[in-house]
């Protein structure tokens, strides 16, 4: 082979640079990456998470105008009162019968002042209205107007302890999911109680759902019940994404 010495050296340099890059990324994010449990797909997700956090910074997603609002399919759970067979479904039915007057959102974990918020409490906070694109993992998109309270304001009211790194959400349709503190404190991450100028409909997560605009739709959890600030990554066990075969981070 012609030039084989030169090509070998060049190949070695490229391979070396690539591995140094990989190690540098892994060293920079040893504590913030969720454990992969040896699953190669989840390792890929973690690599994407690290790369996006390292390269993209904090930026706002594009917001649209009212004329851009589109039809919006409701998928996944569309009424926990009907489909959730446990105690949770029954309590949701009771809350729904009382127009969610008795609904309370518990904020606990690594916070200085654990407490609960009623719907009226949440509406006391300065509200934020945003018209954003919902991007479903299935491939469809829809534009909706969301009104709610920035999650950061609620977390501030409870006082996040300096050890808090993740925010975990529990829902009435019996799911557990979490986001990192960067997404939790993002200005467009809101607890939405209104959609398209009205109360949030049942099929879209009444009375309050999460909006995490820089991730795929399933991170915007519906039917919120409880928020826990956590020091460590919590995969949510059998009620979470990872143990059900889904990515935890879905910025892509």
């Amino acid at each position: 082979m012609k030039n084989s010495g030169l090509i070998t050296r060049r190949g070695a340099i490229i391979a070396g640079l690539a591995s140094v890059g990989g190690f540098a990324l892994a060293r920079r994010f040893p504590k913030v990456l969720p454990p992969t449990c040896g699953n190669v797909l989840r390792m890929g997700d973690s690599f994407t998470y690290g790369a996006q956090r390292a390269l993209l910074g904090q930026s706002l997603v594009k917001e649209y105008s009212l004329q851009d609002v589109t039809s919006f399919p409701a998928t996944g759970t569309t009424d926990p009162g009907v489909t959730v067979k446990s105690e949770l479904g029954e309590s949701y039915r009771r809350l729904q019968a009382g127009a969610f007057a008795d609904w309370r959102l518990s904020v606990e974990g690594s916070v200085a002042r654990p407490r609960t918020f009623s719907l009226a409490d949440l509406k006391q906070f300065p509200s934020r209205t945003q018209i954003t694109r919902h991007t479903c993992e299935e491939g469809w998109t829809a534009i909706g107007q969301w009104t709610g309270v920035p999650l950061s304001a609620v977390l501030d009211a409870a006082g996040i302890l300096p050890t808090g790194r993740f925010v975990v959400f529990h829902s009435y349709d019996d799911w557990v999911d979490s986001i990192d503190m960067l997404d939790a404190l993002h200005p467009q991450t809101i607890l939405a109680y209104g959609m398209n100028g009205r109360d949030l409909p049942i099929q879209h997560g009444a009375p309050v759902r999460l909006r995490v605009e820089r991730q795929i739709g399933y991170k915007s959890m519906k039917y919120l019940k409880r928020i826990v600030v956590a020091d460590k990554f919590d995969d949510g066990g059998k009620k979470g994404n990872i143990q059900n075969g889904w990515a935890w981070y879905t910025g892509i």
Binding site: I7, A74, T75, T135, P201
Partner: protein
């Protein structure tokens, strides 16, 4: 191939494939196969294509592909208008149990994409600055005469494919096809793919403007992938016609 008369053996002075070309070729090959497979799975979950920013089961599709049980399933309850205007946007709840294997499909797609993007970017850099593109891939001005183009086209149409040279002495149409894939289709796949990432477009909203919205990018992503699959098929046919064993050897161990 105009210069090398069809025959056996390599003409004197023909180079073998460089090692970095061989390595990146097979990494990208594996990546593209996994991307095509998982990409098809992802498309099966929502086999509707749209143009613009938003599109879903409740809005009209540009194109609907009969590739899974999700094709035209129409499994929704009675739509309810969001606003006073009954003809405006509606909400409806899905009642149909769709096909959806995106849990592994998406993660494997993005894992494979890393093996396209990282070696692909290195390949582009080395190819650009190392002279590979200039001397082997990009058609030379003297080749781009109507006579050469015509002859290479006629040769291909008559299926007269010269035997493998075992290295980068590429024919004119071959160079054109490689250039199209390397400089147009593959970068377009990556750019439209990134346009579908909500985190990437929050940092680079220009991507949404460039392709006219998320759904336009998704549709371009699909058609570009179809071009890429077509290229792979023609590429494999050419490899078989020009001497399969020799070509595989040349791209694997070099000659």
């Amino acid at each position: 191939m105009a210069e090398a008369p069809g025959g056996s053996g390599r003409a004197g002075g023909v180079e073998a494939h460089a090692r970095w070309v061989r390595i990146s070729h097979w990494i990208v090959t594996l990546s593209v196969l996994v991307l095509a497979f998982t990409g098809f799975e992802i498309l099966m979950v929502h086999p509707r294509l749209y143009w613009g920013i938003a599109g879903n089961d409740l809005t009209p599709a540009l194109l609907e592909l009969p590739i899974s049980r999700n094709y035209k399933h129409r499994g929704y309850d009675q739509p309810k208008p969001f606003f006073q205007d009954a003809a405006g946007p509606v909400s409806a709840s899905r009642t149909y149990d769709i096909f959806n294997q995106n849990g592994w499909g998406r993660s494997l797609h993005f894992l494979a994409a890393w093996f396209l993007v990282v070696p692909g970017a290195m390949y582009l850099l080395v190819g650009l600055f190392g002279g590979h593109f200039r001397s082997h891939v990009w058609p030379k001005a003297r080749e781009l005469t109507p006579r050469f183009v015509w002859r290479d086209m006629v040769d291909h149409l008559r299926f007269r494919i010269p035997a493998a040279s075992g290295g980068p002495r590429y024919g004119l149409l071959q160079k054109g096809a490689y250039s199209l894939v390397i400089f147009v289709v593959a970068p377009l796949m990556v750019a439209t793919g990134l346009t579908m990432s909500p985190a990437v477009t929050s940092a680079f909203p220009i991507l949404l403007g460039l392709f006219g919205g998320y759904q336009s990018a998704r549709t371009v992503h699909f058609f570009a992938s179809a071009v890429l699959v077509l290229f792979v098929i023609v590429h494999v046919v050419m490899v078989v016609k020009s001497g399969f064993r020799r070509q595989i050897r040349a791209m694997t161990v070099g000659e």
